[in-house]
Amino acid sequence: MIADKPRQIGLAAWDARYRAVQRAGHTQPAYGGPLRRHLADGDLRLRSLRYDNSAAALDLWNFLLTEEARLHAARASGKIIVGAMKDLGTVPVMAYALPNVVAFYPDGAWWIPCVMELCDDALSAADALGVDESFCPVRAMLGAFVNGDHFPIPDLLTCSVGATCDDFSAIAQRVEGLGHPIVWWEIPHRRPPEAGEAAVTLPGGCVAPVSQVAVVRLELERVRQALAKGVGLKLTEQKLRAGIAFANRVRRCLAELRRLSFTAPVCPLPALELLIAEMLAIHYCSDRDETLRVLTGLLREVRRRVRAGVGHFDPAAPRIFWVNPVADLRAMNLLEQVGGRLCGTEYLFLHALDEIPTDLPPMEALARMALADPMVGSAQERAERICREVVRFGAQAVVISRIPGASHCASEGSVIAGQVRQKLGLPVVEIEVPPMMDALRETLRTRLAALVETVKESQP
């Protein structure tokens, strides 16, 4: 471990830093190496980002940026590849419970246009299929299925449908229309229980009717059977319990990472690395064991910094809660460049960060977790949880980052903003971040800076 002062550095500075990390004896994984090498893969956005300078962050970035190679290696070694679409943390838990399976998240292709600065043809391939820019950037996934440049075509595709966004449902249907069969599983809109109806409290605190949990459990049973058939092995209760136990180890690690990062007096880890860390937890970035190792390394570094009282930014930096993931990673840097500090997030999948109950039959536990997805319930419920998290982490303002073209973003932002203002009296700003925000950078900077200034003005 190298114990230099935490700083954010650019790609050029990482060259020198990489040599220092090597000299300090940091043991890199097989996918390690200097960050700059990813430019050769077309990951041009790396030139514009600011990175944490720790060895743990280096591992995080290298792990993220080598996922495609990992998937192709898995295919070459005969592993079964499962594409878990519109699935935030459920099917991967089941899939990785089986041996010889690699599950991944094809939706993650939505960052391709950003990372490759629109130089890849994923979006133009989607355009050619009539799925144009009026859709959410996840349309890049459709292009990735067409051009085959990013991930191998999965052996098994699953997709949740029902209470999901229209963009994704429409795009997944187009994927199936291209000749890739999908196991569709129904996730119903989570509703409040009727008077006198049997109900359960879900992970995260929402309440749902028992009958809805039963529906999801049956649907996940279909997925379970499809997985078992695909692999040729039974997905037993014992295997599922082991899969859930592993998922909970990852989630506990991430929970501690978030808690420390959001509450430490000095920020120990910047927003960008935290965003990536959260994303790893929902689908394991095609390697479950390595996900835990990378997150554990980050947590170790964060603990060290907290103990030493060192970190990033002004300790008095306004504490900002962020809602929704951004299509352009650079936006997370921008928040910090205008003087803010990330103190809480809701990237559409808080349920996938909650521990999965272990005192229940595994399929019941997974069904409850899936139904706790903030996106399958009302925006009011999502806003309530956001408010609880804002209070928990002591955030002083909220950024709602709309996803361009996303069906849910037309209405839910105003609901969330309304609740935050009404219940907490905190300032809120809504922004929209496209896959390449360069043309809007000054506008976004102004809006974020205004929010930060508003918080500063209100401080005694």
């Binding site: 859709f135 229209d166 069906s407």
Partner: protein, 305 residues
Amino acid sequence: MRREHRANRDIVYSSPCVPPEWIAAHGLRPCRLIPGRATAESPIPATSGICPFLRAFVNEACHRRNTAGVVLVTVCDQMRRAPDLLAATRQTPFHLFNLPSTWQTPAARRIYRTELERLGAFLVACGGTTPSRAELVHALTTAERQRDAIHAAPLGPSDGIPVALLGGPLLAHDREMVRLIAACGGRVVLDGTEQGVRAQPARFRPARTQRDPLGELTRAYFETIPDVFQRPNTRLYEWLLQHVAVTGVRGVVLLRQLWCDKWHAEVQRLREALAGVPLLDLDLDGNGVTPRYRTRLQAFLEGLQ
């Protein structure tokens, strides 16, 4: 008797997956609302990204007189989220009907049937009465007779180039498109919109209706109406290709509401599936049939001559 007159008896809905027989059997009046231009600004103001049909439907339903309740159906993400926008104006009771997107499994059918029962509870809360089996059977047979009478009526003129309409829900003034097509030399012989023949339920089977009327409602509405939101949406394509062949349609006019991803994403696939039958894709912005539609329709129909 439970059929006494009440001031507010109308149950307003828009989705063809809501069986009006079920509402009528509860002693309430089913009102399938085809909204006009969205003139009311509340509870949903004009907002970028909001479906014009959703806005017009919700705003008109909320300002309509004699409404006992509004039924919203989860056919799309925006309709599913409409209750969020109604939260501030809960003057009119509303019910969110959870319509499954999957349809090939027994579980999906069970969900639909359970949702009918839940809708029944809502109807009772709106002043209706739980029907006996005999009352439900009567409602089913009456509704079927009425549907038969309505669909015997022709759609438009008897000459002109045969075209089909396809798409989701239309506002009242969007129906002007039928007249415009006729004016341009066409003739609508197949209505595949959400308010047309595509969205009609299957005929009830008499013996099954007597034995299990709720089960028959489920079969007729859930298991047969093809729609774009279903996963997979193969039934829609099967229906379309079969009816295009039978009716001798020479062109298809797709009418989709602006921001409707589910229809929008299918445009190119529909073109490929229709193989040789041209498709004109028109997005509707809630402002009615404006001159731009006339120009495009004229060109389209000229091309078909």
